[in-house]
Amino acid sequence: MSNATIKALNERKLRDKSSFRETVRNSLTMAYRGLLKIKRTPEQLFDVTLQPIIFTLMFTYIFGGAISGNVQNYLPVIIPGILVQTVITTSIVTGVQLREDMDKGVFDRFKSLPIARIAPLAGALLADTVRYTIATVLTFTMGYIMGYRPEGGLGFVFLAGILVIICSWAISWIFAFFGVISRTASSVQGISMIILFPLTFLSNAFVPTNTLPDLLQWFVKINPISHLVTAVRQLTNSGTIGWDFTISLIGAGIIVAIFAPITVRAYMRRA
């Protein structure tokens, strides 16, 4: 049993804190764990794979005729809308899984290891960007198959994808917060849906704002999701970076600035 030979006590050098480099290393290892888990349980990816496909088909054929006259004209409106809605909804999973993870025995081991306390949280948030990427690619691919040819060209489509992924990552901090403080995984899911459902549907994602009653119009216009949807439309359909692009990034920044510290604090108290 050579490798379990115990190092003599006085040969050990102890560190009382993780350095920044170790923190990054630990977080990357935890992210790698997240990716392995996705690979091992691909059924976890049902939401990010099925939702873009089904929603794109459904919304396009149900609303296409009514809103834009025909399906082809509706695609430039609906694809950015569905993209934003799908990817942001996906970010709920971050909170739910974080909760599930923290309830498992393996979390005790992470807590008993001399690693950066923040690593499991940071790793989870990092690994989930892979989900957002999958959802983004699938939505654009679905759109392409149905005939969507974004005028902005591939470069701007790419940029739009990145923008959506960044914003979803920012929003995932909100759900991570609920994940850390909640009692059960299903309550995380519940709270998150209650917040997200109105935000995504009461936006300009699926319908033009001017068809709505006044009060709704007011809400839709201040809804940050609407700004993100508009920013994506401008990028993909005309290759322009407008004010909405900036607003979206600022919004993402504000969310992270608020939720990252309180999530980390709540998490550290429990970890």
């Binding site: 490798n3 993780s18 081991r109 008993s112 001399p114």
Partner: protein
């Protein structure tokens, strides 16, 4: 593993692996740990013996920096678990009561991830994982997901994961509960090996026999309090002697045999109600020889003869003056103790 050493420290206390004083932890109005003192000498196996719900897991979680005590203090090799948890974590390996490995990953992946977290490079982590899998007989199952692992395999993997950093102190929370006798014996072997190589082991168990097999010293814990502490022999002496059980082939000589037992051993005996079995305390092992000779001379043939050591029940009966009353609450508490504290 010690590349970026921001601050170097030497081990403060090499004699005592664990020193805990007056640990208290309450959950609501349940005093799960109620003033526990524990002192574990480095290089020994220490057993914490107690029935389900006694507070063993809670005590270990406090010592392993997983839970904050409400009162009291604990040092691991001289480092305070509350003030210097990050130092303590570099000196311990924890094998929890409930598998602390990742269910959805394979054994190999689990060990690689823990090794990487402990600072090993990619190739070193892989080598370490392979070595441990080999050592714990998990090689064939290395790539399979843990879902199909038996209880014994899971336990072994769990222990392997605790040994990656070769920690000088290892916590084992009920390492053999639920294992079949063969796997349990293997686990005992492993634990003994660890200590031979210089580790200190603090283990909890519900079985007196296990403590007897392994531990140098034992603390008996009940309702969150240490009710007895000492070597296993001291403990047994306080409990009393083993008992002799014998049954004879021809039951018509029962009464005769019983009289001989009482006369030769000079004790009171009892006959079990299922019939056919005589039970008597065995204070002096030498006299059993005399008894056997006497029985043979009288032509009474034995069907079975056994000596039974005191059970945990008897230990409790003698120390606390009552039966392990917790036994009937067993199922309820084991469910509860599985849960963690929640915030909302």
């Amino acid at each position: 593993m010690n590349r970026t050493t921001s601050k170097r420290t030497v081990i403060e206390n090499k004699d005592w692996a664990v020193e805990a004083h007056g640990l208290v932890k309450t959950f609501g109005d349940n005093r799960a740990v109620d003033g526990v003192d524990l002192n574990v000498r480095a290089g020994t196996i220490y057993g914490v013996l107690g029935p389900n719900g006694a507070g063993k897991t809670t005590t270990i979680r406090i010592l392993a920096t997983l839970l904050k005590a409400d009162a009291g203090s604990a040092q691991i090799f001289g480092y305070d678990v509350e003030k210097e948890p990050q130092l303590v974590r570099q000196l311990i390996g924890v094998t929890g009561q409930y598998a602390s490995v990742d269910e959805s990953l394979s054994a190999m992946e689990n060990l690689i991830i823990f090794s990487r977290l402990l600072g090993l490079g990619r190739t070193d982590a892989k080598r370490k994982a392979l070595n441990l899998l080999e050592e714990f007989g998990l090689m064939e199952a290395a790539k399979r997901p843990l879902k199909n692992f038996s209880g014994g395999m899971r336990r072994r993997l769990d222990l392997a994961a605790s040994l990656i950093a070769q920690p000088p102190l290892i916590f084992l929370d009920e390492p053999t509960t639920g294992l079949d006798p063969r796997t349990r014996n293997q686990m005992w072997e492993t634990i003994r090996r660890l200590v031979n190589e210089g580790s200190t082991v603090l283990l909890t168990t519900q079985y007196l026999q296990e403590a007897d097999e392994l531990a140098d010293r034992v603390a008996v814990i009940d309702r969150g309090q240490v009710v007895a502490e000492g070597t296993v022999n001291e403990l047994k002496e306080s409990v009393g002697t083993s008992s002799l059980h014998l049954s004879i082939q021809n039951e018509q000589y029962m009464q005769e045999a019983r009289l001989m037992v009482e006369r030769v051993l000079n004790v009171q005996s009892a006959v079990s109600t299922e019939g056919g079995k005589i039970t008597a305390p065995m204070a002096d092992a030498d006299r059993v020889t005399d008894l056997l000779i006497t029985l043979r001379e009288a032509g009474i043939q034995l069907a079975e003869l056994s000596v039974q050591k005191p059970t945990l029940d008897e230990v409790f009966l003698s120390i606390t003056g009552r039966k392990t009353s917790l036994e009937d609450e067993t199922s309820a508490t084991s469910n509860k103790s599985n849960k963690k504290e929640k915030l909302i």
